[in-house]
Symmetry: C2
C-alpha cells in the first residue's frame, strides 16, 4: 500500500462537511479503491467556533486557508470557498504553483480563470479536477474528458441549475407566477435571499462555460455565453407551451457553428418527446450528442451535500490513483481559441406571445412584420375575445435571430400590441 | 509527444470496422487528447477477402489472431471476436500474459472469466478495459469505477438489452403479441435468427454480472444471476400494466441484501413515475443508486457500430494516457467473494394475472391461497364476463418470493384456473 494521500480542505460549509463525512464513513472502502488511504490532515474555514456535525478534532486547523497551499504535508488542496476571485483564486493559484493537486467545486472560478489554472497545473504536473463544479454528483466532466473522448461533440445541452428547474416545474404544476413561486422557494431554502445568480442564468452560464471547455477542447470563455434568465417566463407561457406540446426549461447549450462556438443559456421550448423535457424539480441533466456515440443523457441531483461530496471524492480517488489528466480534454496550451458565434447568427425556431387589442387588422400587421423578414409561421393561436388585450401565440419555422429581433421590434411598435411580446426560442431535437 | 500507441485488432465485424473508422476519422483529435497517436499496426479476422468499407491496406494482416497477443510491435490488443471461450479467451489470456493491455467488448467472456482475467492483468501491470461490453456507448463502467467511486452502491439496475426493449416497446405500441413482434424484429435485423441469447435474458445477465463486479467490488458471478426472459410477457399483461400505472421492462438488477448479493434479470413492472419506464426502443439505461450521490441515470444507444466504437476508443485513449486502473474498482485479489442472495428470499411486490372460469368462489379461493401465505392484496381487477376464462389481475404488497411461489402453486392447482398464471415482479422506486 502506498503512502496516504494527504488532503487539506478549505471551506467547511455544506459541501466541505459532506466531504469530511464521506471520507470518514467510507475510509476503508476508499483506501481499497484508491490504492492508498485518503487522509484529511488540515482544514480551514471562516469560523472555528461554528457548530458542525462533523469531527475535525484530530485535524490541524489553519486560520489562513493559504497556509494549506504551501504546507509541506499536504498533497492535494480541496477548494470549497467559492467565488471567482479573492481567497479562492489565490488559494488555487498558490497550491498549483507549489506543485499540489487541486480539487475544486468552484464553477465561477473555473468559468473566469479555467484556462489559466489548467495551464498552471500542467506546468507543475499537477492535477486540476472539478467534477463537483458542474451538475453535482453526475460524473459529466469525466464523461466528456474520458468516456466520450472518441467523439467530436455536435451539441451539448443541459439543465444546469436546480433552482430554476424547481421554479419552472412548480410554476407548471401550480399555475402560479414566477414571483410567487420564487418567494416560496426562498422560504423553503431552495432559492437564495438574493436569487439573481440562479434565476438570471449566471450560475448555469458558469457551468456551461466549463462544460464547453471540456467538450470542445476550447479555452473557457464565460464572456462568450449569451445569458438570459427565467424572470420573464409567465404562467401563461407555460400553459401555452403545454398546449403546443412543449415544456419550458432553462437550458445551457453549446455547439460549433461555422462562425465559432455558440454558448447560450436561456429559457427554451423543449418538445415533450425529448427526454430532457421530463427532468423535473431540483434534478439536473446533461445531454451530449457525439458523432459516433449518438445521443447520451446523464441525470441526477445537481446540488446538495451528498451528491457534491460524491463528486469531490471521485476526484480525490483519481488523484490517489495518480491519474494525470489534462483539465479540459487536451493539454492547456493546445486549447483552441475559438471565435464566439454571434447570437445574431443563431438559427432556430421561435415562440412568441403577444398581448393585442382584439380588433381587425392586428393579426395581418403581425404576420406582415414577420413576412417582411421572410419568417414563416408554423402555428398561430388566438384565445378568447375581450375588450382589453388578448393573447396571441405563434410559432415560427427556423430563421435567424437577427431577423427575428428586427421583426420583434416592428411588432412591439404596433399600436395594437399592448406590452412587450414574450419570445422564447424553440430548440430542435431528433 | 510520446511514441504512438500500437494497436492490434482481432475481429473486423461491425464493431471492429467502426473502431478502424473512428481511429482514422479522428486521428488528429485523438492524438491531441490522448497525448500520443493511436495507430493500428495489425488486424486479424476470419476472412481477408470479405468486402469491408474500411481501409486496412497499410496494416499487417495476421491469419492467426493469437499472433497479435505476442507480437513485439503491439502495445494493446482489441478483442472483438466474441464468445466466452475458444479463441477470444485464449487471445485475451495470452495478450495479458505477454504484458499487453487488452480492450474488449466481450461481455460473455467477462461474465464467465472476469475475475481471472482481471487477476492476470494486474499481475503484469496491464490494463483490462471493457467499457464497450455493457450498454454500448454509455460510459457506465467508468462511472462505477471512477465517477461514483465514493459511494456504496445501494442498488443498480438497467435496461441492458436493446432487442428486448425494442420488442416490449413495439408490443405496447401495437398491441401485438411477442411472437409476431419478434418475427418482425428478426426481419428488420433488430433480432438474431436465434433470438434466445437476447430474449431469454442471457445477454442482459452477462452485462449485469459485469456491472455488479464493478459496482460492488465483488468477484464476477454470472452463475449467481437469476435469469428470466420476455417470452412469457403477453400483450394482455402489457395492457393491464398500463392501466395500473406501470410499464413492463426487462431489467437487470443488483443489490446487497443481508444474505449476499442479489442479481436478477427478469421482466419488471416499473411505475410510470420512474424515469427508466420511459426508455424506449433500442435505447439502454443504467441507474445507480449511491448512498451519497442519490439516484443517477445514464442513457444512450446500447449497441451499434458508432456507440460501441466510441466505447472501445475511450478505453484506448485511457490506455494511451497511461491510466492504470483495477478492472473492477478494487484490485483483483481484493475482490469480495460474496454469497448469492437466494431468490427465495427476494422481497418485493408482485403482479399476477390469472385466467379463471367466471363462477362464484374463484376469487375467494385465490384470495385464500394468498392469505394463507400472509400475502396482502394491493389491488384486484376483473375484466368482463364470459362463459370461458376471464382475466383476473391482482397486485400484492411486499412479500417474500418463496411465499409467493407457494401461493402460486396452490392457485395453479385450483380447478377454476385455466392456465398457468402470469407473475411479474413489481420493482419499488422512490
Amino acid at each position: 500500500m502506498k503512502a496516504p494521500l494527504r488532503i487539506g480542505i478549505a471551506g467547511l460549509g455544506t459541501v466541505g462537511a459532506g466531504v469530511v463525512k464521506l471520507l470518514a464513513e467510507h475510509g476503508r472502502l476508499l483506501s481499497l479503491r484508491g490504492g492508498r488511504s485518503l487522509k484529511v490532515v488540515a482544514v480551514s474555514a471562516r469560523s472555528k467556533a461554528k457548530k458542525r456535525d462533523i469531527d475535525v478534532s484530530g485535524v490541524r486547523w489553519e486560520r489562513d486557508p493559504l497556509a494549506l497551499a504551501t504546507a509541506p504535508d499536504i498533497d492535494v488542496v480541496v477548494e470549497l470557498i467559492g467565488g471567482s476571485s479573492g481567497v479562492a483564486r489565490r488559494l488555487v493559484q498558490t497550491a498549483l504553483r507549489s506543485g499540489k493537486h487541486v480539487v475544486t467545486a468552484n464553477k465561477a472560478l473555473l468559468a473566469m480563470h479555467g484556462t489559466e489554472l489548467a495551464t498552471l497545473a500542467e506546468k507543475r504536473g499537477s492535477i486540476l479536477a472539478f467534477e463537483a463544479a458542474v451538475a453535482g454528483g453526475i460524473p459529466i466532466i469525466k464523461a466528456l474528458r474520458e468516456g466520450l473522448v472518441g467523439n467530436r461533440v455536435r451539441r451539448l445541452y443541459g439543465i444546469l441549475n436546480g433552482t430554476c428547474n424547481y421554479i419552472l416545474t412548480t410554476m407548471r404544476e401550480t399555475g402560479r407566477d414566477f414571483g410567487a413561486v420564487l418567494a416560496e422557494a426562498q422560504a423553503a431554502g431552495y432559492a437564495e435571499a438574493d436569487p439573481s445568480f440562479d434565476v438570471d442564468g449566471i450560475d448555469a452560464a458558469h457551468k456551461l462555460a466549463v462544460l464547453t471547455g471540456a467538450a470542445f477542447g476550447a479555452k473557457v470563455n464565460f464572456a462568450g455565453v449569451h445569458v438570459e434568465g427565467i424572470r420573464r417566463v409567465s404562467a401563461m407561457d407555460i400553459q401555452f407551451a403545454e398546449e403546443l406540446g412543449f415544456r419550458i426549461k432553462l437550458l445551457g447549450l453549446a455547439r460549433e457553428t461555422r462562425y465559432g462556438i455558440e454558448q447560450r443559456v436561456h429559457p427554451c421550448m423543449v418538445p415533450l418527446s425529448a427526454p430532457i423535457a421530463h427532468i423535473e424539480g431540483v434534478f439536473n441533466a446533461v445531454v451530449v450528442e457525439g458523432d459516433f456515440v449518438g445521443t447520451t443523457m446523464f441525470q441526477g441531483r445537481g446540488a446538495g451535500q451528498g451528491p457534491t461530496a460524491s463528486a469531490v471524492v471521485a476526484d480525490l480517488v483519481d488523484v490517489a490513483r495518480g491519474r494525470q489528466m489534462p483539465a479540459f480534454v487536451v493539454p492547456a496550451e493546445r486549447l483552441a481559441d475559438k471565435k464566439v458565434s454571434p447570437m445574431d447568427r443563431h438559427q432556430g425556431a421561435y415562440y412568441m406571445r403577444l398581448m393585442v387589442q382584439d380588433k381587425p387588422g392586428v393579426i395581418a400587421a403581425v404576420s406582415g412584420a414577420l413576412a417582411k423578414e421572410r419568417i414563416s409561421l408554423e402555428a398561430m393561436l388566438q384565445r378568447g375575445r375581450s375588450d382589453g388585450a388578448v393573447p396571441v401565440v405563434l410559432t415560427t419555422h427556423e430563421t435567424e435571430e437577427a431577423a427575428m429581433q428586427r421583426a420583434l421590434a416592428r411588432i412591439t411598435r404596433l399600436g395594437a400590441v399592448a406590452e412587450e411580446p414574450c419570445v422564447i426560442r424553440i430548440e430542435a431535437f431528433q
